[in-house]
Symmetry: D3
Amino acid sequence: MNGTVYVTRRAHFSASHRLFDPSFSDERNAEIFGGCSNPNGHGHNYTIEVTVAGPPDPATGFVVDLKRVKQVLQERFLAFVDHRNLNVDVPFLRGVNPTTENIAVAAWRQLAPHIPAGTLHSVRIFETENNFVEYKGE
Amino acid sequence: MNGTVYVTRRAHFSASHRLFDPSFSDERNAEIFGGCSNPNGHGHNYTIEVTVAGPPDPATGFVVDLKRVKQVLQERFLAFVDHRNLNVDVPFLRGVNPTTENIAVAAWRQLAPHIPAGTLHSVRIFETENNFVEYKGE
Amino acid sequence: MNGTVYVTRRAHFSASHRLFDPSFSDERNAEIFGGCSNPNGHGHNYTIEVTVAGPPDPATGFVVDLKRVKQVLQERFLAFVDHRNLNVDVPFLRGVNPTTENIAVAAWRQLAPHIPAGTLHSVRIFETENNFVEYKGE
Amino acid sequence: MNGTVYVTRRAHFSASHRLFDPSFSDERNAEIFGGCSNPNGHGHNYTIEVTVAGPPDPATGFVVDLKRVKQVLQERFLAFVDHRNLNVDVPFLRGVNPTTENIAVAAWRQLAPHIPAGTLHSVRIFETENNFVEYKGE
Amino acid sequence: MNGTVYVTRRAHFSASHRLFDPSFSDERNAEIFGGCSNPNGHGHNYTIEVTVAGPPDPATGFVVDLKRVKQVLQERFLAFVDHRNLNVDVPFLRGVNPTTENIAVAAWRQLAPHIPAGTLHSVRIFETENNFVEYKGE
Amino acid sequence: MNGTVYVTRRAHFSASHRLFDPSFSDERNAEIFGGCSNPNGHGHNYTIEVTVAGPPDPATGFVVDLKRVKQVLQERFLAFVDHRNLNVDVPFLRGVNPTTENIAVAAWRQLAPHIPAGTLHSVRIFETENNFVEYKGE
């Protein structure tokens, strides 16, 4: 069988963060980021969904080796963020305000170089069931 | 960071409705709408997902001020439909058969004028876990 | 194998209702029942969970024939409430304010006579994901 | 109302399968398919989501008669796979390694001829909450 | 209608925490608490379920005024923990290692004095979908 | 803090099975077990919830070392059933009709000897979202 199939792998991580811009006044941080700028932080059970796309291999019936995607997701992203403080513990988020938007873009940049060229289609991050973002590398 | 990020806000409302066309016979309404045309109505816990799209603001890391989206969603849509009868209580559904399709299009029209121009990407309405629709304004 | 095992069957129904007491003033109904007393009603996707308990039959490995529980649940409860208005369409709720509490007790009374004696353990009704009740016949 | 609305119907089926290629050695099957190539099989509660797209009919407010989509989904797909072994019981999967990718493409081919021309938009299959695929017929 | 009905209200909060005992060595904290003792903390989307029990009031059909339970839950618990750091921001957790067990017991103590006497039945706290605890005041 | 706290750990496994009694005729197996007696089997994504109960340790705030419970659950149960055929691959289910009831009792017997004495409170097995059982060792 041929044609493009989109394959998604979903995983979870638990992390803390604080939304704020160090160049803003406390008042402005509170106004823009609300409770999310609590000085001592807060946290979430995040969900990440990584989608790759391409034609299934006729021999295996797989678009990609999903074990490889899981390994890349674990080694290049989850190992850095799970049970961590996103403001201080994560090299690839240094100097970045850890909004869900910025986490999704950073995840894409961590994963794309290690996934078969041209197959990474989107990264979705759920901060809660009610707030989530998607980035497609465009 | 730049590029387009899709940001979704999810909310819930509980409402009753009856599907029928007053110009149809009772038999035809029953045939087309089945149990959904029960004369005294029935109801659902609806879920709405509103997606906006654009580049994250470099200063805040936000595509839009999600507090504003929540406020628009509350004031322009949820306040009219939550704990209401969609056939008789909702000005913007007057004369409209409240199918999930029609509710999604109506929600788009209620929200679009109050969300930053060009950023509203889609509205999804779940009538149940097993039935849902999406409208992208096209 | 012996010992007591609790077996639960879960199902869904969509219904409308209005919470109010006809002997109360409109003001008192609004005060007690809030948005739930909207005169034209509202609705929910309800979930019901029926639990039976007993020792598994050594021959079949079943506590009860769950096909029988499904049939009783369908014929004695779901057929009366699914896609209905709980205030006016349901004989066994006539004169009853359809709070989740009262629906659970009514469901127990509908089901108990038709389930093997002594095995009905509890009935749970979820009005939403965030509001649910349980009744154990005591 | 006009414009394109995407309407999705979701359903479930429980099936067993074994991932392997009969032309591979046992070692190669184990290497590629891991635990999924257990000789006696394993199984899943699969979820299928079928999306059709088009303008809502002005008279009914429906994109398509969803009762028809449910019937096609039942008769052309679920009746063949629910409570079955995907390797041996399903005519339209004969000779196909039942990866989620291949099941999604096969489901599209089963459904498309029986759904109003041009309206089938996508088929999604969830093998678990954490692994799912989408096929859009392209 | 009489008999005991159990009524549950569910809510969410997002918080950060670090599990550790200041009297333990770093090694012992790491051994006992694993990744949960990351010095800069991590976080969760917690869910709390509060169950009250009693006979439904014959006039209202309510076991308790659930609006009152929601208000107590908000004012006595959620207002202190949502978008907070459980190790440093919460007066009633001062000096307490914020395990899920200890949070549940603390929640009970916060709520019980403000809920009608004898009706509080249990408090459940979900740290993730896969880890949760229940406390019944015994 | 003292008092009894119930702590639950949830995990998943994917397995195939066929419900039948080899001493029954094919007709009787079909009549009692319906689609579940398909000769080539079918399968499920099962969920298991293991609950232990006791007073939290004053030093750690833990009822038990949940890492130990996870390890026992993995080594004594999941390692035998995940990605397996429950009728033929599992030593502790040999000769047992793999109904959800029987799987729960077997899981209890596998786990109880390796969990701190007297703390195992219940085992719940979900075959699907709509069918689940609980066993408390009584």
